[in-house]
Symmetry: C2
Subunit: 723 residues, 2 copies
Amino acid sequence: MLLNRFFLVLVFFAYNLLLSQTPAGYELWMDYKKVEMPSLSSQYSNIANEVTVLGEGETIQVIKNELLLALPQMLGSQFEIKKEVGEKSSMIIATWAQLPQNIKKQIELDDESFGNEGFTLKSLNTKKAQKVIVTANSEIGLLYGTFRLLALMQQHSDLTNINLVDTPKIDIRMLNHWDNLDRTVERGYAGFSLWNWQKLPEFIDQRYVDYARANASVGINAVSLTNVNANALILTPMYLEKVKALAETFRPYGIKVYLTARFSAPIEIGGLESADPLNQKVIEWWQAKADEIYDLIPDFGGFLVKANSEGQPGPQNYDRNHVDGANMMAKALAPHKGNVIWRAFVYSEHDADDRAKQAYSEFVPYDGQFLPNVLVQVKNGAIDFQPREPFHPMFGAMSKTPIMMEFQITKEYLGFSTHLVYLPKLYEEVLEADTYQEGKGSTVAKVLDGSLQGQQITGMAGVANIGNDLNWTGHPFGQADWYGFGRQAWNPYLDSEKIADEWLRMTFSNDEKFVEPIKEMMVTSREAVVNYMNPLGLHHIFDTGHHYGPGPWVSELSRPEWNPVYYHQADENGIGFDRTPSGSNATAQYAQPVAEMFNDPKTCPEEYLLWFHHLPWDYQLKNGETLWNGLARKYQEGVNQVAKMQKTWNQIKPYVSAEQHKEVNMLLTIQHKEAKWWRDACLLYFQTFSKQELPVGVEKPEHDLEYYKSLKFPFAPGIRPRW
Amino acid sequence: MLLNRFFLVLVFFAYNLLLSQTPAGYELWMDYKKVEMPSLSSQYSNIANEVTVLGEGETIQVIKNELLLALPQMLGSQFEIKKEVGEKSSMIIATWAQLPQNIKKQIELDDESFGNEGFTLKSLNTKKAQKVIVTANSEIGLLYGTFRLLALMQQHSDLTNINLVDTPKIDIRMLNHWDNLDRTVERGYAGFSLWNWQKLPEFIDQRYVDYARANASVGINAVSLTNVNANALILTPMYLEKVKALAETFRPYGIKVYLTARFSAPIEIGGLESADPLNQKVIEWWQAKADEIYDLIPDFGGFLVKANSEGQPGPQNYDRNHVDGANMMAKALAPHKGNVIWRAFVYSEHDADDRAKQAYSEFVPYDGQFLPNVLVQVKNGAIDFQPREPFHPMFGAMSKTPIMMEFQITKEYLGFSTHLVYLPKLYEEVLEADTYQEGKGSTVAKVLDGSLQGQQITGMAGVANIGNDLNWTGHPFGQADWYGFGRQAWNPYLDSEKIADEWLRMTFSNDEKFVEPIKEMMVTSREAVVNYMNPLGLHHIFDTGHHYGPGPWVSELSRPEWNPVYYHQADENGIGFDRTPSGSNATAQYAQPVAEMFNDPKTCPEEYLLWFHHLPWDYQLKNGETLWNGLARKYQEGVNQVAKMQKTWNQIKPYVSAEQHKEVNMLLTIQHKEAKWWRDACLLYFQTFSKQELPVGVEKPEHDLEYYKSLKFPFAPGIRPRW
């Protein structure tokens, strides 16, 4: 016994030592720290006393590997895994079909309870011993159940009377990588693409495996490997062999691979003269291409397509429409059970109408015309991943079409990977938004999971924030966004604060003195970035191209809707974009109760005020302040919130490693500096219109407006490729 | 005692477990594995029983950190470091000035023995105890000594009677990073640039520190951060603040920072109309820029310049010469003790002469005209980092000019980071080459270290193979090239086989059953790549631009000397480039005995045969074979050698982790595939001229020539930037 305790202390000691040599963060939320609390450690050790895993498949092997990695680290002793259920089996992991009859009976469920991907975790306590059963209908369900069990142990949950059934509410839980074939990543701020195309297919980087583990641990089951601004070469045989190697690596983890399909590929790599979706040769080319792909990758997910958007080719180049394009591809994929995910992020250089209206105008009339294996992927808001946007009016507006969510996990407009902004809070706000499309309670979450309008296929995508940085996401807290996105795609009704709690415990520490203040810091961080970048409904006032830092003055770009001045409309009379009936009337795209609420500045939530209204500088806000003073104070509040985050982080120093602490500290220093940059640049610029002093409590800018305008960042990361 | 042994076993066990979660290789040759052999472990534990480190500086702190990281891992127990020498001090690390007098006496040396950067390791044994002293004149010397002591322990060397004095033979031991400001790396095959310019100066990545540790551990004391195809923005205040942050991070490790200076910077960022080196405004601009830099970075190393080469601007744009350009910059740097490193890699698009001759022709006439703080940096061969080149004729030909070596560590022409090719073997071949410039024995090494011609400043640069891949160099064995380059820059007379031995023991295992066969594999790997790519003196027959794979047929590039056909000159009569007096007479640039040897195909070493001679296909080689048959067999031999490397690697499986084994295995699979690709493509192409069958023993090609010609790799890594 003495030896045993000594053993545990020593393993822990060695563990800490080693981490000091390798930069923290590679392990993500799966570093399986030693469980120190004796009561818990002994409970878990009892459960893990004799582990049995039934089955032989690749996914079963993955389950065993994970257990063999996790349990010794958490519990400090070695394990064998048995292949048969015996008297002493204390942890049994087996599909429902393989589970011994007597155990099935005790579980008091049947196979319909957990569907194809769900699972149950159930404790069966007898006088003699405690058992935990993980069962599911599929091996993937077992893998999800195993990861959940390990997560609960990492979170120091009591497993004595566990009785959990969990099934995913959304079918396609997907990461969209905007990764180019040269390994640059559009809007990527965590290094470069994980996919080392040169060394594939022979060289399988250990990161591919760990990436798949991380995804499976939160239930992500689909990935699109390539940028939506697509290169047709990915569909050539040389690259498909490489894609196949990735698909095979991901398959045991339940992950299907999708590719972005460039609409003009039949011309670029097929030698055809047209890509017209109604042209027979084009149709046949895509059919043959689909056959070729499925020959290599039998469970290939399908195509993700950005067409007729921001210069990408599409059916409109041939006077066809989105339905023609999407259905042509859908027909090619249908025999193989593949899907087309067609993006609704379109706005036309020829359409002078409010950009916020265009996707709705273009797509809603097609409702009911898409084939069943087409999903329309819609960004959470009608502009473009701003710090805050009202929910996209398309949600709930196409009752006969599967609408898939596109969130952005990478922080294009939220401070790149240098700002701590907890995104599940943003996602939650969108998911909880009530569209009123089928009456009160028609939340976006219900649109997405099909429960509102009965869609047969559902999906949620997140644009990945993952790169080849050692810690995957650049900012250590960026890992929480990946984690949280996966959790919310699994269950869009989850509380973002609960998710933060889980992630903090798994990643850093279960100490309440750490978890509570840092959880608070995370959930308020999103409001902070809104305040110091785009308060009161301002949007898209970022500097050109790279979207790094403020550029509210930018006005000379060739397309009007690329210019910040188009979005804030500031002039001597006031500021804001009038989207009410007196303006662009974009509000008419929402269900009537929502439109009415937005139309009146008195009922419009103040966080969307300038999104929908152009208001005078002395407009009176709800707190009695003028708009100018309120705007200025919001900017200041954002800066103050970051200062408070710095203070909070300094207080939790004892609970994380010196290196982790220093790393986040340095990043918060940048965030604070840039928050001030945003405040000063925006207020100086808007002041040229308001012609009013800064209110008391708002700090004076460090530089003059010309200084902020002069800043140039030609090598800011994540810039769009030029081909 | 039982507890103690138990402890050691357990730490080792935990250690192995953890490595399985983080991909191997981040730790480089400094992972400080547990010393298992009891006799050694006890010897080292005695030496480390009471460690004293005198001093307070930043470098002293670095020494302490390294000891606290290394000793517990190697010896399995914790250490305190004392600040004063006491009776029991068993390891004493102190500068000569701080060392107690009684110990100085016992050492039997004086401070002149180790110069500014050298050190001594000396054991002082009494009846009662064994001590090891590390002393030097500078803290940096102590750091080098500490790293050497730890290296010897990692190599399981007996320290009982150690008595080692070691001083670097070369002053500037430098890495050249060809890193662009967008983090792409020209000729980089290990991911992307380590330098995260966006997050600098605030965010100091732990990798910067570990990079500095690795460099210091082998004595590298200078780094140029940016691509020689330079961008002037690096010299603007915003970037200089970032450079300063890196310089401060590297300073405690004895590393000076250099930057590449774009010759036209006065125009691009200075607002001048000219960059004429004799223009007073230009002169003043560079002086002010130097002052500005040294104000931020007092120990800034200087400028590395590529001028009038491959499109880069330079003094010739203003009808000035290299001396004008280099000396103008040298004057700006001299007051701050900075250096100009001026590259001799020039060849003119207007000069139809043999490219191999141009650098010599252009530079040798300037011997004696450069200021004392100018070094001329010369590639090892006269073309461009080929698998094998005869030494550059400039070595020894400019007796009044410091000539600095430029080796390439990144494998632009040696299979990128996918081929296992041990480069110190190549470097050794060059360093040992006899220039005869001051008579027999005038080796390149003696030119470089100044001992041949008395230069006051000496240097050796290596173009780094380092990127942000988890294991730094892409290929695990690429780490040996970084390690070996550093060791050879410290001492260009070191045996490359000995270096491989050191590196293998530190990186993988001290087991002779591992070290011997793998060392053999490493030292023969360089000949293998020569055989399967460029045997018998062939060179520059790589595919266009990216240099990935064979392209001997390429003939349509705009400049003749960019085309492989220019270099191999194959026709129906034979193959090879006549550089004798009957041809380009490049041999005349060598000292007479060397020229004579090269001029006669009978005395010319066969490895350089086609470099210097155009010979008929039925020319008889030394072994009696025809040139065609010999060439074909060399290609086959290269393939066979890779197959043998695969076999060897399979045999050592028990001595490395499963992950390490698999990783190298996958890479060898690629190398074998690509070796066959080279063999087949080249032989099929040359066969169109020789019109002869492949000899017995040479395998038939898998595809036809058209297939190999059709392969295109637009996204091969490391392509030159386009700005």
